[in-house]
């Protein structure tokens, strides 16, 4: 009888942990990577401010917050895929970035869209591109 009660208590505790804690730890990680990537891309000009493919540490694509600089965008798009994922802390995931008009038409994109992957986390940001409000999507899949 004692064993039955002990088993039921342990089982209950495990159920609560498995449902609440375990999935949350796994599912929050890509969200925080995306938040960090968003900050690197859209909050500042990058490090160094006039970065290029050989000296880049943070690949910012704006000159002022949330306003896309076309030259920096072009430099970011020209980086190779592994360089992008490494700089943005997304190594190990399928990383996808795009800019699209608010009606959903894609202006430009890079990376792997992760359509064949089982889990996908996406971050949607509003940014200014050539004076117009557009949407940028960052996505991690695995």
């Amino acid at each position: 009888m004692f064993a039955l009660v002990a088993f039921s208590i342990i089982f209950s505790m495990y159920s609560a942990w498995a449902v609440q804690v375990a999935p949350r730890e796994g599912s929050e990680e890509p969200a925080f990577i995306l938040a960090s990537a968003r900050q690197m891309l859209f909050e500042g000009p990058g490090i160094p401010a006039e970065w290029n493919s050989t000296n880049v540490k943070v690949p910012g694509i704006v000159r002022q917050r949330m306003v896309i600089d076309n030259a920096k965008l072009a430099k970011f798009l020209a980086l190779n895929y592994s360089q992008k994922t490494s700089l943005l802390g997304a190594a190990g995931y399928d990383f996808y970035f795009d800019l699209e008009w608010t009606n959903g038409t894609v202006i430009t994109s890079t990376g792997l869209n992760g359509t064949n992957r089982s889990t996908s986390t996406q971050s949607r940001s509003l940014v200014v591109y050539n004076g117009t409000a557009i949407v940028s999507n960052l996505r991690l899949s695995r």
């Binding site: 009888m1 039955l4 009660v5 088993f7 039921s8 208590i9 089982f11 209950s12 505790m13 159920s15 609560a16 498995a18 449902v19 609440q20 999935p23 949350r24 599912s27 929050e28 969200a31 925080f32 938040a35 968003r38 002022q64 917050r65 949330m66 306003v67 608010t102 971050s123 949607r124 940001s125 509003l126 940014v127 200014v128 004076g131 117009t132 409000a133 949407v135």
Partner: protein, 160 residues
């Protein structure tokens, strides 16, 4: 024998009670939005105001009457389909060194009236109705010194 059966019955009941408690508490906790969801909503509120400022939408509301149609059109174009928002904009005129003859001048009693700040316009635009919880808010101050006006925009956003 009777005592044993009674104890076994109680133990089985306890087992089911504990299992049910674990299942219910697990469901309640996982159905609440996690920290990332809260961050994304707050981020959305700030994004909307930042972009409205950077692309000139907010500044465009300073010199003329109205602005609610512009705000509504902007919000409907940029908000995700599953988000609602309410924005309040107040425009102030400063009638100090110059007093442009425009709608604010008329609202605030003309250039001959006392100088200083005057709230000459206020409007609120909503897309959906504000829920009682789960609302993120952001504020932004914007100005155009060439026409002696500034504004304060406050936005609330939520998931529908």
């Amino acid at each position: 024998m009777k005592g044993f059966i009674f104890t076994l019955d109680a133990a089985i009941a306890l087992f089911f009670a504990l299992a049910l408690t674990a299942a219910v508490s697990g469901f309640l906790l996982t159905s609440a939005a996690g920290p990332a969801a809260d961050v994304s909503l707050q981020q959305l509120a700030q994004d909307v105001l930042t972009v409205m400022d950077k692309n000139g939408t907010l500044k465009g509301m300073l010199p003329a009457a109205g602005g609610n149609t512009t705000a509504y059109a902007f919000l409907t174009s940029v908000l995700p389909a599953d988000a609602g928002a309410r924005i309040n904009v107040t425009v102030y005129a400063y009638k100090g060194d110059s007093c442009p003859s425009d709608y604010c001048n008329a609202v605030c009693g003309g250039c001959s009236s006392a100088t200083g700040f005057c709230a000459c316009k206020n409007f609120t635009v909503s897309i959906g109705s504000v829920p009682s919880s789960g609302v993120a808010a952001a504020q932004r101050f914007f100005t155009d010194s060439s026409i002696n006006k500034f504004g304060l925009a406050t936005i609330e956003v939520w998931w529908k």
